[in-house]
């Protein structure tokens, strides 16, 4: 779903120390919906709109990335594994998975979440909405 463009504005959504106790918080800010994610020292914010069908992508689960283990020497694959160091945002409507840090789909790099600029200012998480 495309949200109506508005003039850029900066909005503080709360104290970093409070927000980062969760991995993810999804906020409705004057009608714009944004998911804010915390992974290690990194912060990301994504529009809560799946590029597939407009679903509420940030309101689903976050999971470890699934990998196919491959032995480079033989080409053999012992099967699928989980990469616990990376996190994927899963759209609850149809299961599209996006890397939490890059917003890129797990398979199709052309399919991406739309970023929201985010910064920490005096201990607050500040989003730039447009």
């Amino acid at each position: 779903m495309t949200e109506a463009p508005t003039a850029p504005r900066q909005v503080s959504v709360g104290a970093l120390a409070t927000l980062r106790t969760k991995e993810r918080v999804v906020l409705d800010i004057d009608g714009q919906s944004v998911g804010v994610y915390f992974l290690g020292d990194e912060i990301r914010a994504w529009h809560n709109v799946c590029p597939h069908s407009g679903g509420p992508v940030c309101q689903g689960k976050t999971v470890a990335r699934t990998l196919q283990a491959i032995d480079p020497a033989t080409g053999k694959s012992p099967g699928l594994t989980l990469d616990r160091s990376s996190r994927m945002i899963v759209c609850p409507w149809h299961g599209f998975e996006f890397d939490l840090l890059t917003g890129v789909h797990a398979v199709d790099t052309k399919t991406r979440l739309r970023p929201v600029p985010v910064a920490v200012v005096d201990g607050d998480v500040v989003l730039t909405l447009g």
């Binding site: 909005v11 800010i29 004057d30 069908s53 309101q59 689960k61 899963v90 149809h94």
Partner: protein
């Protein structure tokens, strides 16, 4: 550097969508899409599903064979639970992708006292997606065609039809259904057609495609004649079956699911055409459900190619297979749409403007919102209106007077939740 001024904003936190979320919250974005794009359209969802395992005790209770009813109730209380008498394989049910997609199999919260949970969930989904009517099919029963005991398919078909027609449909005029035909037993199908041909809320008859019956066999001739006489469509609803030897080589649900949902309907359409069934039952309206669209141009071209070279094997046909196929009806979901040029060509060759019917498949994992149709750049507005509801109104003789609430009213029922 601190911004010179931070805007004051109304901020509220949104909940995670999970297995206990209200349908209206799960589908709130679809409601917004309805408000923006199709609030004044007449919309019919040809294929939504009951999670009948949630109400399996109610169905088992209606089995008319005393032995099977007793067996079913015994299994219900013990190991089989909600899979009593069924032939599904729970360990191979991967629809939720390891719990990533939570609406498959979810249970509706906050059901008002005295209302049936399925009807409440279905009504909320209709309201949220902007549907005037929704036609419901079973879920776990889609595999019954592969059940080794034909008598169980008959008993469960009769019970499920009674449950649907007598208990569920009268609770909401926007819900309609096809009667399930236990196709492994043609005589039982004939009895059901006779019983339900004039039932008000029964809009057609359905065969679950996942089975190995040759649908052109003469044992079905009387059945087809009866359905033709009723004037109601015959729908073949596809499905998957990982136990089919054809799919034993596939090690992921995604590939098995992708191929098997098209496989069974391709086989049935091929048999239907090569045996000249459209010429033998010319007024029988055939509807092919839940195989998506991409298989249609493939099969049209493939069969045309073969029949032109081997007409002696298709002497009953008076036209090309593709011409017969363009006169059949098809439901849209799961609509392949990663290549708009291919989708546009597909819709053109299958005459989508008159033959395609929108279907959601809700609440299954690969469902489609009505926006899959409204968002297509190459369709005219009239084509969108036809596919979303007017084609269905014509096929099923539905009154096109609006039945749904406006999207704004639906969103107002869940303020601040999603």
């Amino acid at each position: 550097m601190r911004p010179t001024q931070l805007d004051k904003a109304r901020i509220r936190e949104l909940e995670e969508i999970g297995t206990r979320s209200d349908t209206r919250d799960v589908l709130a974005r679809a409601t917004m899409q309805a408000r923006r794009d199709y609030d004044d359209y007449f919309v019919v969802d040809i294929d939504a599903h009951v999670s009948e395992d949630h109400f399996w005790g109610e169905v088992i209770e209606l089995i008319d064979n005393e032995y099977l009813r007793d067996l079913g109730q015994s299994q219900l209380r013990s190991f089989a639970g909600n899979n009593a008498l069924l032939n599904i394989v729970p360990g191979l049910s991967h629809q939720s992708v390891g719990g990533r997609i939570t609406h498959q199999g979810r249970r509706e919260p906050d059901v008002p006292q005295g209302e049936h949970p399925f009807v409440v969930a279905a009504r909320r989904s209709m309201d949220a997606m902007g549907l005037d009517y929704q036609i419901v099919f079973p879920s776990a029963m889609l595999l019954l065609g592969m059940h080794p005991q034909d008598e169980v398919e008959v008993a469960l078909a009769r019970a499920f039809n009674r449950w649907t027609v007598e208990r569920i449909l009268p609770m909401d005029e926007r819900l309609k259904a096809f009667v399930y035909l236990p196709f492994n037993t043609p005589e039982a199908c004939e009895t059901l057609v006779a019983q339900y041909a004039d039932a008000k809320d029964v809009i057609g008859f359905t065969v679950c495609s996942t089975r190995n019956n040759a649908i052109h066999a003469d044992c079905y001739a009387r059945l087809y004649a009866m359905i033709e006489e009723s004037g109601k469509p015959l729908a073949f609803h596809s499905g998957y079956h990982w136990g089919d030897p054809s799919f034993a080589q596939l090690n992921r649900f995604a590939t098995m699911h992708a191929l098997s949902f098209t496989h069974y309907n391709q086989i049935h359409v091929s048999n239907w055409l090569i045996n000249a069934m459209p010429e033998r039952f010319p007024k029988l309206k055939m509807l092919w459900v839940e195989s998506g669209l991409a298989w249609i141009p493939f099969l049209m071209q493939r069969l045309d190619h073969e029949v032109l070279m081997r007409p002696s094997e298709a002497p009953g046909m008076k036209r090309l297979p593709s011409e017969y196929m363009a006169e059949m009806w098809y439901t849209s979901q799961p609509m392949e749409r990663t290549n708009m040029e291919l989708l546009e060509a597909t819709m053109k060759v299958m005459k989508a403007e008159t033959q395609l019917l929108y279907s959601s498949d809700w609440p299954h994992w690969d469902w489609d919102a009505p926006s899959v149709i409204t968002s297509l750049p190459f369709l005219s507005e009239q084509a969108k209106r036809n596919i979303l509801g007017l084609n269905a109104a014509r096929l099923f003789n539905l009154d096109i007077k609006p039945k749904k609430p406006r999207a704004d009213a639906v969103l107002a029922t869940r303020p601040g939740r999603s």
